[in-house]
Subunit: 474 residues, 2 copies
């Protein structure tokens, strides 16, 4: 969908005032490095999931100022005429490196790095953050909810509570990456191949004189796969009995009931018993109604008889914490061919940025294939496999650990080279499978909802030394 | 933006399965009435603000299934061939009534009513809820934040944390309706006339060897209106002194400093003193950094010296409660020219719907011009001005109150008649002014953040009686 729109002007106005400023200062072509990273995992979780890269790529490919845009900017009476002409011929020429979608990511890591003329590299900040923050937020939330469901499918049902059309469509995409089985959102199926599914609204039942008639009609029209909404009037007294009657008469190939209100644990136990006693053991029970990972965990632990979950508003808005706080910070400049690392100081130690052009390596234990730590290194540094390597906490350097018998993977891939896309986006199913597989390589201790173990994100000694020296200098 | 896309397929899949179901049951053209209403005001607030109608109208005008859509649906192998042909020639023919944008709205009121063939009236549910829920959520939040700012301008700065592109663009629109002075989002200015504004990022300052040089350059390029970001290194030790030096040298027409971190109360008091002592009393102070209505209220009460606020993630996501729970329920059918009211029962009394085709009147006190109550009535009922009228609490009918000396306004307007739009959307500034004016007609007691007075939304006796009788019957 986004692909069809020119969103070049979806940018903070200050990106344009700064661009004009660089242009007027003869700095437009100064080469700058920017990192996108985030500082906190939403919901105090142990990991986040990278998502949105495909849409970011589409945005970067489509960057173009129209005559209408130029006229609009001209009307502001603050931009240089030559700058506006430059925008007319704008061509994206940056290099971009990024963590592939579906990868577990952690605070402080440069999940995206951009190198290029400062005007361009700065300009793309807003949309990069907008796209990656949104989809990573929802993919991360979905991963938690899917985990809570312990193998039961989770459907994303939140379209009507999403924050506008893109939130619905790309939220469904991100939820699928995070492990959801499908979505209510039809257009996300058409455009992104995410299975759309759904049953009926209460209004279907109300349109008929009684539930039995409404159910019977529906089952006759959809005999291959028929899920009936049983809570319009009274789940146990009328809904389930009517559904049982219809299932026995029509015998759909696949059948299910859906409960969207009331106490899920109580109702599903009772309904399960009624269905089983009627010989309908194969009839599945779908539940919805303001669910999230905590409620799902609790009702499962109470023994609720649920086969799948429909999760709406609390997934599509990441209700408990609806912000993924990714930021985009200058990390280096090139001047006369020389690299000048840059740092942003802060009273808050965690807010001090990591200077320089960097890479991120993920280290895996050879025996268990589990991830041990991520190491942020300066560009060109390697972590030799087969040797012992000492990692240390960058904020408490006396916390040290020697690791051996590991293998190393570069967490990022080059996406753009000189403005040309050099990356082939995987299919949505490949991303989803990759996410599952990469999460399996993470220790369970990091996946708890409360007080998860903190995954190590360390700096190489060289990077740590550079940062330390720059802080001292300031 | 949304106007440029065909979002017909942005709908819950069940809307299509139900549509096919009605088609196959020869019920497609049965006339149904649906109400959109909401049950709770976010943040336990005293009022919400209606927003999004213009985009809903665009969506309804643009409803059209493309050949690609039909092919996609055909591929699902569950839809009747004749139904798919029907979709190919789909034409929206419903009547729609709605509360105009910018109006304070309350739980239980039918803010939109749709009358038409059930297939169509049902089908538009998803996008109606998506659009109105989103924009009303953000307009409501913005209204709270603007109120907290006590007359100081509030800018919407959250583009980068919005849930995708539409959330940024229409969030900015809704925030403006709710009273914000502008947005960071450039495209919202271009397309919707919402003033875009912005200053600089920390990276601008970092690109130069020192703050003074960075500020000087910026002030020279933007001498008419120059706001400098003073917290890249140290607000009071380096940022403000450098800004003062530059302001004195360059003398911009309008000047300001922006503080984006640290303790706002402390820093703005100190900075104000420094600016005043330097003879720069006209220099304004803009603050940002994870603000919301509570923080703004608190720092103002602490005497912070702030001239305007930039509010980001907590506004654009409605961070404290990111869901506006509007729903869409069947309220009546027409059969053989006869109106059959419908009701959805629930264990929870508040969740029982109001049956029938209804209107909403707002009653104003003639002396104070303040709103006294909203009365939901059955279509055709009037509330005669100049007579005494008794209102009563529909859930505690012994709570009664006689009112007189009032005037009455129909809260809703007809938007579509037989599928044709008969409503002229006001301009965004007209909507914003209308919102301010309508809120001024509400008692302050309803505008508190904590425990606001509940505004009366009552039922006419006839409607109450109909509902009561139907509940008894079930």
């Amino acid at each position: 969908m986004i692909e069809k729109l020119n969103l070049t002007m979806l940018t903070d106005f200050y990106e344009i005032t700064m661009a004009n400023g660089y242009f007027c200062s003869d700095m437009a072509d100064d080469i700058a490095y920017f990192d996108m990273f985030f500082r906190r995992i939403p919901d105090e979780g142990g990991y986040a999931i990278m998502a949105g890269l495909e849409q970011l790529i589409e945005y970067l490919k489509g960057l173009e100022f129209t005559d209408e845009d130029i006229e609009f900017l001209k009307g502001k009476n603050i931009f240089d005429e030559k700058f506006l002409n430059y925008l007319r011929d704008f061509k994206f020429t940056c290099d971009v490196w990024a963590v592939p979608e579906g990868t577990p990511i952690f605070p402080g890591e440069p999940i995206i790095t951009v190198r290029g003329p400062v005007m361009q590299a700065q300009f793309i900040e807003t949309m990069m953050l907008l796209i990656i923050n949104h989809q990573s937020l929802i993919a991360t939330k979905a991963s938690r909810i899917v985990r809570a469901a312990s193998g039961r499918p989770v459907m994303e049902f939140g379209t009507r509570r999403a924050h506008g059309a893109s939130a619905a469509v790309y939220g469904a995409r991100a939820a699928y990456i995070g492990g959801c089985a499908g979505t209510a959102c039809t257009i996300s199926d058409r455009d992104h191949g995410i299975p759309a599914m759904g049953t009926m609204a209460h209004s279907w039942v109300q349109m008929y004189d009684d539930e039995y008639e409404a159910f019977k009609k529906y089952a006759e029209i959809y005999p291959t796969n028929c899920t009936l909404l049983v809570d319009t009037y009274n789940v146990l007294k009328s809904g389930v009995p009517a559904a049982i009657k219809v299932f026995k008469e029509v015998k759909p190939e696949k059948m299910g009931i859906r409960i969207d209100s009331g106490d899920i644990t109580y109702l599903t136990k009772k309904a399960r018993k009624m269905l089983d006693e009627a010989g309908l053991k194969e009839c599945s029970i779908v539940v919805s109604n303001s669910l999230d990972e905590y409620l799902i965990r609790d009702i499962i632990s109470e023994g609720a008889c649920v086969d799948s979950f429909g999760v709406g508003e609390r997934l599509i808005t990441a209700g408990s914490e609806p912000v993924f706080g990714g930021v985009y910070k200058l990390s280096a400049l090139e001047k006369n061919g020389k690299m000048i690392p840059k740092i942003k100081k802060s009273e808050n130690v965690e807010k001090i940025t990591n200077p320089g052009f960097k890479s991120v390596f993920r280290i895996f234990d050879k025996d268990s294939s589990r991830a041990l730590a991520d190491i942020i290194v300066l560009d060109g540094e390697t972590i030799p496999e087969g040797e012992e390597y000492e990692i240390f906490d960058p904020e408490a350097v006396w916390k040290r650990k020697k690791i051996k018998n590991f293998y190393v993977r570069n967490l990022r891939e080059q996406i753009f080279e000189g403005g040309k896309c050099v990356y082939k986006c995987p299919s949505i199913d490949e991303i989803r499978d990759y996410c599952t597989q990469q999460l399996d390589a993470m220790w369970d201790e990091m996946k708890r909802f409360e007080n998860p173990q903190t995954y190590y994100v360390d700096l190489s000694y060289n990077l740590w030394k550079l940062k330390h020296d720059m802080i001292e200098d300031l």
